[in-house]
């Protein structure tokens, strides 16, 4: 628990404990951007390590990195592109759900757009895998659906 006794908010740090027991530090001003964290701080006080049962050590550092940049006002398109460049689809999904849990609006909106961009013009099978869903249509329903959306067969990246 590393916390400075100074009354200035800008130098105050909050301790966050992930679901798998690791502890990370974040500036109080950055923690303010995550409404869930802020609510927990209001309820439990800022001297305590805030428990985040549904966020894990894999994703929290990335979220902290994003908000560290945000409080200095340095978030640019280039930074955002770099931020997601090396993330695979599953990692983006996990961050997306974590940002939703933390009520971290800015990151959540950015990741929503990124997911939409990743799905753009992809085939039905790709989207199925992405959402982890099974095809529950009968062959007749599938062929009817295919007919219904024949108008959209333009620029599909993979073969249907």
């Amino acid at each position: 628990m590393a916390q400075e006794a100074s009354s200035s908010t800008s130098s105050k740090t909050i301790s966050l404990k992930t679901g798998d027991g690791e502890i990370f530090e974040i500036e109080a001003s950055a923690a303010k951007q995550m409404k869930t964290v802020q609510r927990l701080i209001d309820d439990l006080g800022d001297d305590i390590t805030i428990p985040l049962h549904n966020v894990f050590s894999k994703e929290l550092p990335k979220i902290i990195e994003y908000y560290k940049k945000d409080i200095t006002g340095e978030i640019t398109k280039d930074f955002e592109a770099e931020f997601v460049k090396d993330l695979n689809d599953d990692e983006v999904k996990v961050l997306f759900l974590a940002a939703n849990y933390l009520d971290a609006n800015k990151l959540f909106e950015f990741l929503s757009q990124n997911i939409a961009d990743r799905l753009e013009s992809k085939s039905v099978e790709y989207v199925r895998k992405y959402f982890g869903v099974e095809n529950d249509f009968t062959p007749e329903e599938e062929s009817k659906l295919r007919e219904e959306r024949a108008w959209s067969f333009r620029g599909i990246k993979e073969d249907e």
């Binding site: 679901g19 869930t36 049962h53 549904n54 966020v55 894990f56 894999k58 994703e59 599953d90 999904k93 996990v94 759900l97 974590a98 939703n100 849990y101 009520d103 609006n105 959540f108 909106e109 929503s112 757009q113 997911i115 939409a116 799905l119 753009e120 013009s121 992809k122 085939s123 039905v124 989207v127 199925r128 992405y130 959402f131 982890g132 869903v133 099974e134 095809n135 529950d136 249509f137 599938e142 659906l145 295919r146 219904e148 959306r149 024949a150 108008w151 959209s152 067969f153 333009r154 620029g155 599909i156």
Partner: protein
Amino acid sequence: MVMAIASIESTMASSSSSSSILTMHHDIIHTHILTRLDATTLASTSATCSHLRHLCRDNHLWKKMAATTWPSLLDPAICHVISTFPNGHRSIFSDSFPALHYYSSHSNHPLSPPSSELISAVDIHYKGKPVFSRIRQTKTEKNMFLSSPLWIEIMEPNELVPMPVKYVRKEEEWIKHLEDNLCLSWILIDPTGKRSMNVSSQKSVSVRRHWLTRDVEILFSVIMEGETRRATEMVQCMVKVTCCGKVGGELHVREVNLVMENMDGGNVSGREGVGILMKAMEFGDRKKVGEEGEMKMRFERFLNLVRERRERKFRRKKQWDGFSMVVAFVVCVWFCYLAGF
């Protein structure tokens, strides 16, 4: 944003539970992902499973998409008309998003009674951004409309609408620039039959300067099957955009109108034109344009057909004139002979 900490905490097993993302989070997927997808991707997503299909059928998603793709459809009167369609705004996409292909003979198919009104929703995009949107309701039962050449004018007389396109002097580059960056969609909506279609080639098929007025004429065209009579076996549905401007200033749109031409190069009447349009709307195929420049190729082929017909007609006329002269000469000689000369 949906916040259900308790429920998420209790059901979320691990950080990589992608298999349950839809079940647990369909509301955030619907509100935050589906709303950001483009029309093609939304259509693909709706074919993945029944749950996503149900989410993707939300008319609000398609209404928002239609308004982004064609701002003219934001008009309240049009929104109301489209809301009466069986699949609402989704049917606008399936009917008007792809290009219209209407070539095989359907003239023997019985047609539903023609609509008394057609609504035109026109949008011009420059470099992907909308720069002009207008709607026009056309009554198709008036005698004047039926007996005159088919003509739908979108703008008011003497109206000029500026577009953020610079008017420059250098011909070829600028004309190529307009060809590459201007897109027009003309959606014809039949409120009675609850169908629609796009009668534009999206990209222009020709950009030229009028030899006298120096106005710029930008043409968009779709070739379709007409009636079985010779001159209207195939017809060209053409949108002509006339622009003017001062060098260095902005281009101003002066006229945007829809006409229909037959293979003799003449105009198709309102009565015949509406009949052809209604048939195209009911029986035409909607599918993607095959290759880049396909619509331009069809336009040029049609122009060649018109030219060939004109030349054939001219040759036939010359032959006939020659023949008539010979006959007249022979008849004259015969009369002279009979008269005893």
